[in-house]
Symmetry: C2
């Protein structure tokens, strides 16, 4: 028997719960899809809107330091992912940043034309590869192979390998350092999608010698819905990587308004358009909060929460037909836990109706995010107890729970 | 003598001034760079942050209609630019949307490989063309010629012409219908950058048979700093234009999470990443406010404000060495008025110190935005009187006014 109260009492992160505005009666297990609202966000966003925009108007680009926000927030994110200052900018969407990273990586490894990933990767990673392939007219070839076959599939034509560190469905986590080394050993570059790992565990991009990375601002970073994403480019590549999306904010002198693009000397060259200031303000609040936490403690608590979840699920798995969707070894997973069930969608709807919010991923994956900053061990146990009740009573088996929403 | 009081008394748009939160003592002539804050924006943004994000959490993608926001706001913008429903989406930055439009236009006109624009265009338009050129490895060629030479420069290799409707420096306005017809007559497609015209005058994209257009959300639309931009794709092109930035939000079934990209049937295929919900909320407030105004009245008042400005400048131009930067005929200008002066930067700083906020564009252009929703004729006359005083007293000639800021 796990002593929930003892674990919660000893939790060094417990006080972070008070920093988030979560509705009463809800156990929120979907912070890996959209992180919860930091209590500091509304007032900071209001300040940006009312004081900086409303009163400061155009002068706020200088006076409120809007112009340096992508780099300033990027430097904070760099500290969360084991990167150096001037290697990260916060900007655009994850999808657009994937495109930038792919195009830059291929240009650095010219002579090779394949961009390689795994089947079942988060779709936008694959779609952006396919778009680059089409646009290039065959100069760049997008290819995806089974997850276990990626390293073997790297050949003399492979320019870059795009992999997700923690899988969005299963939670399966790759060994970043070993995988990057294997990719490099075959002469390819590595792009890591950190969407499901940034803010959920310590990351070590510099130590792993990662070449590029992208990540999401609105999951574990709690930056708000559709928050700007980020792009990491290892310092050693920056001077040689000319951006494909070469917008005016990436110019060496944007306000000289010259006709010819000249890339900014460092990471700023990967900026494109005018930075989304209000969205960046929300992101910065989330990142600032995350910086106050110890990522090793976050990882330890995530594993502890997962243990409670799995322990609670033990009597349910066989009896009700759940199967674990991810690796059995918690050390090989990120910070969400997933189960397959043929009625997964309806079961998840039944849970939501009872205040337990996870999500569903086609065709049959129920996904539960374990966010150490605002969940307790008691929350997890309670969520599993509600799931047990939903299954035991057959409460999930109602027509209304089978109505599919636009966003699942 | 212009009767300012009479013009202001007869102004059908005067009541809109009360809808904006402008600081006391400021005459804001930079709404063409960053529009002013609508009073409705803070509460709407707070609602999105606190209620929709904080309380609604992930369910707000459905319940608060986040998922359809890019299209819903796009439809509203369509009405402002004379386009049809389902031809516009609000998303990404202007720069990124330019890239999408360029890539799509070239793919529709294959066999031709040149993308053509004018020298001195807003830099990001040229830079995105140059980036596409580099990325394509020569399959697409970026070319810019003198503004007056664009139509003559269209040849059998010109796939698409990218032009800005109202020039960011001079305010010079192109005849959209005639220019589009001339472009089409030579077998090329037309992309219009509406950044300095949307919200400043009636536009007629459908009547002009424009193929693509992009525009900015934070100038005359008052959407907030770095607000999402928009992309127009004429309905007749949508089915054949496969997006180069093919992200998951442009997929026909984003939540089916398939490995292969399949473009959504309509304008939604031009969405890329997860929509920036907080930024879109600010934009929607600005667009909703603009929809309440009559664009013909906006244009008429803009011309009337320009007349007051020019009338006031008459005695200053020769005496102090100003030269008009744009066309002499107000009908050939957009909604800002620009003058060149060798000390333009310092003069603009002196004006700002006195509450008259315009901006400066290298090397010597002083730019004054005339935004009919929140400026009166009296404001304009007062601004010019302050400029006269600055010049007559030589107050601009101080070292502190020559210190260049990062953003000008």
């Amino acid at each position: 028997m796990i002593d929930l109260a003892a674990r919660d009492a000893a939790d060094p992160l417990a006080h972070f719960r008070e920093q988030f505005a979560l509705p009463a009666g809800v156990i929120y297990l979907d912070g890996n899809s959209l992180g919860a609202l930091p209590k500091a966000a509304p007032s900071r966003i209001a300040e940006v809107v009312e004081r900086e925009w409303g009163d400061g108007l155009i002068a706020s680009w200088n006076d409120a330091e809007w112009v340096t926000a992508p780099r300033r927030i990027g430097d904070k994110i760099a500290r969360l992912i084991g990167a150096r200052s001037a290697e990260v900018v916060a900007c655009d969407s994850t999808s657009v940043n994937i495109f930038k990273a792919l195009a830059a990586a291929v240009s650095l490894n010219s002579g090779r034309k394949t961009v390689l990933s795994e089947t079942g990767n988060f779709p936008t990673d694959l779609y952006m590869m396919q778009g680059l392939d089409r646009l290039s007219g065959g100069r760049i070839v997008a290819k995806a192979v089974e997850p276990d076959a990626v390293i073997d599939a790297i050949d003399a034509d492979t320019a870059v390998v795009l992999l997700t560190h923690v899988h969005y469905k299963t939670g399966a986590m790759r060994d970043m350092a070993a995988t990057t080394a294997a990719i490099h050993a075959k002469g390819a570059l590595a792009i890591w999608d950190l969407s499901h790992s940034v803010g959920a565990m310590p990351l070590h991009l510099t130590d792993a010698e990662a070449d590029f990375a992208v990540g999401c601002g609105y999951k574990f970073l709690n930056g708000g819905p559709g928050a700007p994403a980020f792009l990491f480019v290892a310092g050693r590549h920056q001077a040689d990587a000319l951006p494909a999306l070469s917008g005016w904010f990436g110019h060496s002198a944007p306000f000289a308004f010259r006709d010819e693009y000249e890339a900014a000397p460092g990471i700023e060259r990967f900026l494109t358009g005018t930075p989304p200031i209000i969205g960046l303000a929300g992101l910065e609040v989330g990142v600032d909060l995350m910086e106050q936490a110890d990522l090793s403690q976050i990882r330890a608590k995530s594993l502890s929460l997962a243990e409670v979840f799995e322990h609670g699920m033990e009597p349910l798995v066989q009896r009700f037909g759940f199967t674990a969707a991810g690796p059995g070894d918690p050390a090989m997973r990120g910070s969400h836990i997933s189960y397959r069930h043929e009625h997964g969608y309806a079961i998840m709807q039944a849970l939501k109706a009872r205040g337990v919010i996870g999500d569903f991923r086609d065709p049959d994956v129920m996904r539960f995010g374990l966010t150490p900053l605002y969940l307790s061990h008691a929350d997890i146990a309670r969520a599993v107890a509600i799931l047990a009740e939903v299954m035991e009573t057959g409460a999930w088996d109602r027509a209304e729970y089978r109505v599919r929403a636009a966003v699942t």
